[in-house]
Amino acid sequence: MAKFEYAPAPESRAIVSIKESYGLFIGGEFVPGLDGRAFKTISPATEEVLAEVTEAGPADVDRAVSAARKAYEHTWSQLPGKERAKYLFRIARIVQEKARELAVLESLDNGKPIRESRDVDIPLVAAHFFYHAGWADKLEYAGYGPAPKPLGVAGQVIPWNFPLLMLAWKIAPALACGNTVVLKPAETTPLTALAFAEICQQADLPPGVVNIVTGAGETGRALVEHPGIDKVAFTGSTEVGKEIARACAPSRKKVTLELGGKAANVVFEDAPVDQAVEGIVNGIFFNQGHVCCAGSRLLVQESVYDEVLASLRRRLATLRLGDPLDKNTDVGAINSAAQLARIRELSEAGEAEGAQRWSPPCELPVKGFWFPPTVFTGVSQAHRIAREEIFGPVLSVLTFRTPAEAVEKANNTPYGLSAGVWTEKGSLILWMASRLRAGVVWANTFNKFDPASPFGGYKESGYGREGGRHGLEAYLDA
């Protein structure tokens, strides 16, 4: 069959107007930082500077916490749930209305393909606000007692892999339960959070209910260690998560952590191969593998190893890497130079430790941060690439013979965020699900998210759940 080339199909970025510089969003307004420090956010696909963003210092964080406290005491906690709900419904609607704009902005600042920001991130953001809006006046039905109370002010720190979606996971349940928030977006992806601040203004959300402070690790530290907050919610690396757990240990702050993962994606011999390969590809190459629940360890039953690997390589050769704003792009840019360095370092360790590295023929753009889809075979459980979270488009393939061995290997990790099971046998799915030490088990699918579905980890993948009825607990005095 003749091979057809894809014509470029770039989404126009004209829909987004990015300001030259952004202040902090405190008390319902954009304000300059107190010590005048700023940093630049760039497009990881081109290294073009997109905007200058204020770096919040401790005094700025303090201002934001005060604004949140004031809003909590005088406005938000006084408002009946059904009225809080209306603000959240408004936000959901505005996100839907601005869906295109937000998707383009997210892809620009993060480097993820527009197909993903448009079809996954932004619709889920709206869905999260919609879902939690409904809870705001129904908390007495959520199973936490007849009149569950909010905690107060929540300090929230989110990562760069799903910037606006992680914001929604944090802010929607917090507000629905009656808390106010100070949120710090990641330093490499602050723009959609700042766009969200404008959405709060459009929705006439009372000032101070949502505050957004931009900055890097130091800003985050100032926030989670601030004595004026009642709740810490963090999504990010296990290393930082442990630091936060230590820092908050002497306090009365309620802490929820959604951390790293090293998910096993287990393919049994009776699995439909084409479907499983699609799931494997989605599991590890979705969002360039910048996914805490990514299926980064592929466990294949020995009897179908050759067939699965051949099919996987064939499929990977069809992936299109490049301009995140191109609607045909499957694999976008790595989010930052630092992340690219880490992916490279671990991949080199994989080779050095004796695993075989393979990538499809793949031309990388000259500017920006890029890494080709990569598969390691001959990986042992002792290899670093089988133990450490790479957070990039790198798949480590291992094999097994029996279901018990699959369980053993899948659970042989300090992480426990997610797992995948591929088999036609329903009873085996449930048998596996009951033995896998992971917070989410996908059966014959992978990387599925829904606001109604609780998400979160076992073991060192963190504690607490986000989404669903269970996710409310993180923001209630329950």
Partner: protein, 322 residues
């Protein structure tokens, strides 16, 4: 469902004295409509049935006079017949497959959309509720606001009912066992007689939120706000047939609904006395789920009862093992 086009015959102004009103809006009385000579004649609305997403008159060609609380003429509402009721059930059954299969998220958004559009017609409904119920402006506002908020409240339930009413059941064996709520089917609703809008919303929304479809008989003497609501429903992404609205005589229509073998549940709210008893007996023929008759203060926060009344619980067993 009527398949003949329902041609308008033109709205002629009232023949005799040329007196406009009391069909006008007492909330905002306009001097322009007080006499023929002073200004234009208002264009009146024909209040029709709402069946399968269409607005037919009664197939019987009948109507009945609806008056305000002082006895002044408001409109000739359609006087639904047995056949209209049966057409409405057919339409509701036809819509059930799609509506019950829609995602809960989608149903929630559709119900929320009803609230959005109702809010946009707030003034109209305040006026109509005042006319229908003879209540003051302030009370009418409160009532309409509560009706809007009620759609929002139920909208939020769409994707939470299963989380509150479903369960994973720890059976003593190697089985995964779970129970989920599912809609029962077509629900016939006899709406409250007194509360023309808030009461109507409060009995219809809890049935449709979980995926049931509804045939609702509006308040006999105060049907007009419900008819206007059907115009909101028609333009707010609620698929045709999901909610069907009849106007007419409670005693004439309800026996056909209560005894209809393709109706799965009936809300006897707006029925009373011996009629209510007869309807309950008729409903027993195919074991309809029955919500007992009785009016209530609809301004109070509703509980789960009316949603739960129209839910079946489905339990699934699946073995777990290698």
């Amino acid at each position: 469902m009527p398949d003949t086009p329902d041609f308008e015959r033109g709205g002629l102004p009232g023949g005799s004295g040329g007196m406009e009103s009391p069909r006008g809006l007492p909330a905002e009385p306009s001097p322009r409509t007080s006499t023929v000579t002073a200004s234009r004649i208002a264009v009146r609305k024909t209040y029709k049935l709402y069946i399968g997403g269409m607005f037919p008159r009664s197939e019987s060609g009948r109507s009945y006079v609806v008056t305000d609380h002082k006895g002044g003429f408001l409109a000739n509402a359609a006087l639904a017949s047995r056949k209209d009721a049966r057409d409405a059930v057919t339409a509701a059954r036809k819509a059930f497959g799609g509506w019950s299969a829609a995602t809960a998220y989608n149903r929630g958004q559709v119900l929320y959309r009803v609230a959005e559009l109702l809010e946009g017609r707030r003034a109209q409904f305040i006026a109509e509720t005042r006319n229908a119920e003879g209540i003051g402006a302030r009370q009418a506002e409160t009532t309409v606001d509560a009706a809007i908020d009620r759609w929002v409240w139920y909208a939020g339930w769409a994707d939470k009912l299963a989380q509150v009413r479903g369960a994973a059941n720890p059976v003593a064996g190697p089985y995964f066992n779970f129970s989920l709520p599912e809609p029962t089917g077509v629900v016939a609703v006899i709406a409250p007689q007194a509360s023309s809008l808030l009461g109507f919303v409060s009995v219809v929304a809890p049935a449709v939120v979980s995926g049931n479809t509804v045939v609702a008989l509006a308040s006999e003497c105060r049907p007009l706000p419900a008819v206007s609501l059907s115009e909101v429903l028609a333009t707010s992404d609620v698929p045709g047939g999901v909610i069907n609205v009849l106007t007419g005589r409670t005693a004439e229509i309800t026996p056909w609904l209560a005894s209809h073998m393709d109706v799965n549940a009936v809300d006897l709210c707006g029925a009373s006395g011996p009629l209510a008893d007869d309807l309950a007996v008729a409903a027993a023929e195919n074991l309809k789920r029955v919500v007992k008759p009785g009016d209530k203060d609809w301004t109070l926060a509703p509980g789960l009862e009316r949603m739960l009344a129209y839910l079946e619980t489905k339990t699934v067993w699946h073995p777990a093992g290698t």
